[in-house]
Symmetry: C2
Subunit: 238 residues, 2 copies
């Protein structure tokens, strides 16, 4: 029996219970102008018409939560295979003043240089500095706070910072990203030392001269090497 056939032959076991609208809201991070930003949109429907909100949508009957999040992200950005992780599910009864909706939040990290900015703008989205995007509808500010907390925790223990940079990047670039995430300065010697000691970056023989006359060496995150190290009990820790 195929999965589709199984689905069609399902009995009605739970008719006595209530069904509820389920939404997905995405906190989409990007790194532009050495600043950490998220994508916001202005609501074009009630309730909350005209107010700022995260990028979201309803979960369909025949898609998983992860699929819904990926669909919503893809519709807006045109991108696939973006880093996406579930965060938290908000289930207060009156969180949406329209009707009862529970919302599963996801955060995404994307490489802005892969993005078609016109496409994004045509969908009514815009980049907003993290920390300046308060006054969102419903409980969306809380979602952003949780996403930031998660990003900060993860970035320390998992190599996800690279998801926000081009595949080839310089050490100063990476450091500025981390400074944007944690909102504090790092000592450049210590940062380099610790980072390179982990031995997960491949140094390229090319320099990026776009930000200095001397130029900075480009590096690439070596995922295969990272996975091998992980299997041997190595822990990423910046």
């Amino acid at each position: 029996m195929t999965t589709d056939q199984k689905r069609q032959t399902r009995k009605k076991y739970y008719t006595q219970f209530a069904k509820i609208y389920v939404a997905v809201d995405c906190i989409i991070f990007g790194f532009l102008d050495n600043t950490l930003k998220i994508l916001l949109r202005t609501r074009d429907f009630e309730p909350g018409l005209g107010k700022s909100s995260l990028i979201g949508g309803f979960v369909k009957e025949e898609e998983s939560l992860d699929d819904a999040a990926a669909r919503i992200l893809h519709d807006l950005t045109g991108l696939e295979n973006v880093f996406l992780e579930q965060l938290y599910t908000h289930g207060e009864i009156d969180r949406d003043p329209g009707e009862r909706v529970i919302s599963v939040s996801y955060y995404a990290l994307l490489k802005v240089q892969d993005l078609d900015h016109d496409h994004v703008e045509q969908h009514g989205a815009r980049w907003c500095n993290v920390g300046e995007c308060n006054r969102l509808i419903f409980d969306h500010n809380e979602m952003v706070e949780k996403a930031l907390a998660r990003l900060r925790r993860r970035a320390k223990n998992q190599p996800i910072g690279f998801e926000l940079l081009p595949r080839k990047f310089t050490i100063p670039q990476l450091q500025m990203l981390y400074e944007a995430i944690y909102q504090k300065k790092f000592d450049n010697r210590n940062f380099r030392k610790k980072l390179l000691a982990m031995d997960v970056l491949e140094k390229l023989e090319i320099k990026d001269k776009s930000t200095s006359k001397k130029g900075a060496y480009l590096y690439r995150f070596d995922k295969k090497r990272y996975n091998k190290l992980i299997q041997n009990g190595f822990l990423f820790d910046l």
Copy 2:
């Protein structure tokens, strides 16, 4: 306008979208016989009749997710004000072979000595050693894994171990709890040193002689002191 009135006057904004069954499943931890255990139940209805499962139930129209979890926990244990934290939301389409149900998992930490064990048994629940409770229905094993991972992370950085012990406990008791959680031995001198250095325990002038002839001093977690320290930037770290 009262909250109830608001709710009744809600418009129908989202009728074009699908509604979905939402369940809550609880991973309920307890510390018995120096072992970390969770509460399981045998399903007495289809689908999955006769199989082992977590303690769960459906979310009602007029209750929040947190309230649903607290209700389910209270129905089974008779306890209130138990430590309860949301974990993850499982949303695969076919995770429940009956109908489509998404499930929000919560983990709970309870003091087993507060428990009416007859009441629990009458509700068909039993304690099962963590690590020996595989072969659960649906994706419940995955939920247990996630709960364990979260417990381990939290126990290191937040004083939640105390939620699993009596209000008055001994240092050796606490150490055995941590050994059960992390499945490894700790050096007792180092454990004491680090723990007492944090200065969040109040030493009582009574000894517990139930496990040794010499007797071990009882301690109490000083929550007020802990909160004060936290405000000054102190970090719990065991």
